[in-house]
Assembly symmetry: C2
Homo-oligomer: 463 residues x 2
Amino acid sequence: MNGAVVDPAIDDFLASTRARRLDEYVEFLRIPSISALPEHEADCRAAATWVGDRLRAIGLENVEVSETAGYPIVYADWLHAEGAPTAVVYGHYDVQPVDPLDEWASPPFSPVIVGDRVLARGASDDKGNIAIILQAAEVLLATRGRLPINLRFVFEGEEESNSASLEPWLAANLDRLGGDVALICDSGFFAGNVPAVTVALRGIMYAQIDVTGPFQDVHSGVYGGMVANPANALAAIIAALKGPDGRILIPGFYDEVLPLGPADRAAFAALPFDEDAARAALGVTDLVGEPGYTTLERRAGRPTLDVNGIWGGFQGEGSKTIIPGRAHAKVSCRLVANQDPDAIFERFRTHVEAVTPPGVRVSVECLGTGRPSYSPIDLPANQALARSLRAVFGQEPVFIREGGSIPFVATFETLLGLPVVIMGFTPPDGNFHAPNEWMDLANFENGIRAMVRYWEELATIPR
Amino acid sequence: MNGAVVDPAIDDFLASTRARRLDEYVEFLRIPSISALPEHEADCRAAATWVGDRLRAIGLENVEVSETAGYPIVYADWLHAEGAPTAVVYGHYDVQPVDPLDEWASPPFSPVIVGDRVLARGASDDKGNIAIILQAAEVLLATRGRLPINLRFVFEGEEESNSASLEPWLAANLDRLGGDVALICDSGFFAGNVPAVTVALRGIMYAQIDVTGPFQDVHSGVYGGMVANPANALAAIIAALKGPDGRILIPGFYDEVLPLGPADRAAFAALPFDEDAARAALGVTDLVGEPGYTTLERRAGRPTLDVNGIWGGFQGEGSKTIIPGRAHAKVSCRLVANQDPDAIFERFRTHVEAVTPPGVRVSVECLGTGRPSYSPIDLPANQALARSLRAVFGQEPVFIREGGSIPFVATFETLLGLPVVIMGFTPPDGNFHAPNEWMDLANFENGIRAMVRYWEELATIPR
């Protein structure tokens, strides 16, 4: 372990309990808590029970494996740090499915330790982070009998399906969720295993466009030139959504976008990124997008629009001479602070209707939205996390934004009114959602130290 | 029968042989000669043999059921009209498949006569026209012992699959295909059962566009804004092929188009056509296309461009947040005289490549071409046909153009060097290629008279 000493008593405890703690983590990983597959219902419930039991054993209070319409949310708290801040700590005990199983070097729920790696489904995402949280609380309570701040744990079991029960549960339990900050422990380090503070997630607006022409597919010879073609019309609509330069053409689309400030752009510029390597890995000739922004800024700091799927007419081998009766596209926008997904959908629909060529009918349906999440780099809780990571990992942490969307994160902001800190200790190449998922054991042990240090740092922030 | 008397002897023969002639036609219709289905090989060969036998029985000469790489081409001639023109007469003895079978009111190969209709697969397309040709030759040879002009019959058996053997056979048999005009007997009457002379068929250029981006589908959150989206790029390409006003934007596309002259436009204007009814039948709000032309002009007298199919990415229910790795479209152009399909494909490809946005690769493949076919309204053989139709059917015939393509027709023009007359007697609503195909028996009997009259008219045209 290379981490800075936090406290000799804590280091001693960690050293003397290492084998037992690793066994506990492995025990957690053995539970195949795949929330997306109904046949794993008992396993998901077993994982919730396991987490609840560990929380009680560690000394957390008010432990409750709280039923929902889906899988339980495990709640626990420790609220005896009078005058100190309160953090609501989030993680999820469910894991992704394991397909394709034949690409795993070892069975996904029979964890193996190879060198400094633990290989198992969930080793990183998110059981690795949960195990770090549990063991950080354990070492503090075991060595000092107390925690530096007040903690409320909220561990859900449906993150890998849809987090459907989380928001209703949060709304129903507002009275025991008061606090100063939410720690969303479901992310990890940047490329090169650099400690990272995640300051933003993009939101999403996902829509379907259906263009209707003739009542059925018609002969392109008999009707070509006479009747509008829904597939041509759909192409014209899509071409009118985003220019070839990557700039979105929907009126009002950028109106509420929080511009990237100098500190934001400096944080992007500080990230190691090899454009040539990225091009080669993707197999593309150029990385392209909205002018005026770097590649990393575009993929996480700016909104965008992409066709996710398009279809209509004949897709087989050879040729079939039809004008399709219908054509369809799924189109989604990734959104940034302070864009409102519902307002964006309305502008999207209005624009699609406005640019639809004559002779066809169009309908636009919203298939889903998720709010973007954002906390400034200079949020004291972000800066405190950076100090903790720097101290323990001996490396300057980076401030990153994720291009993807975790819509429930914004719920902690909007429903609980808490600033969020998005954090975690998983290696960037840990094969989350893929075969051979793994966790770095150095990240794991130092993650415990950094979590302890972070809670201590949070105690020093004026409320 | 309402037809004008052609010749009392002929009318007597037709009247006295009607039942026997109808039986022969029905016998022909009983043969399920579906060329597209390999299990009907024996039936297709039986149909060829049946045609050959009838030609011999009627008194045609040099009858040959000529083998090809596919189904036989039945050849026969009668060349004793010294000094008179020679017509090469084309028809096809194969028929379309019968799916969906459960929509037929009676079995497709058990012909039934209901009122003035014969219901069976092939009753119109094209066995009805072949039977008319055979019986026209029969009545002339039976009553006069001779024909007014020289005739060469060419009946193929692969028209409903792909006519693949026809061009090679024509090329290999040029020495016995000399003549003055080709009569392509595979069309019919206009809406309202108005006698028609078809003066043009559109050609076709059918291509596939494949746009390639990342090496596989990638996450739209992680990569959205960073990498070009092949589906968005494909939409931009398609939108750059044809403007919203229906005008094709490919440079040089219209260069060789034979403009519609006053006589052509007058012929279009003379056609009965109800725009409102067409709109309602198609289920569209507007009939749209290239400005400056009427609906009928656009659908048959002008070239056009249509997407026949488009696909890429996620097409299922709900949402999947990917940027597709590939996107594809099938796009075809209907062409008019004097456009060359190969030249059009080259301009198409050049333009697609020129308008492809950065960051993706594109490939354009030609899946097929067919030359347009055209003969002027004032072609003497067209005018002769019009006179014959007018005399026998007592109605002013219309000159029509078909929007569809029958690529082999141009082969008679280009390979044999013959002007073509595209003709036939099938009712416009005869359910060709559909369940419950039927032939009008008045069209059938008067078709024989009109064919006799036409051959007599052709004999009067100076060579």
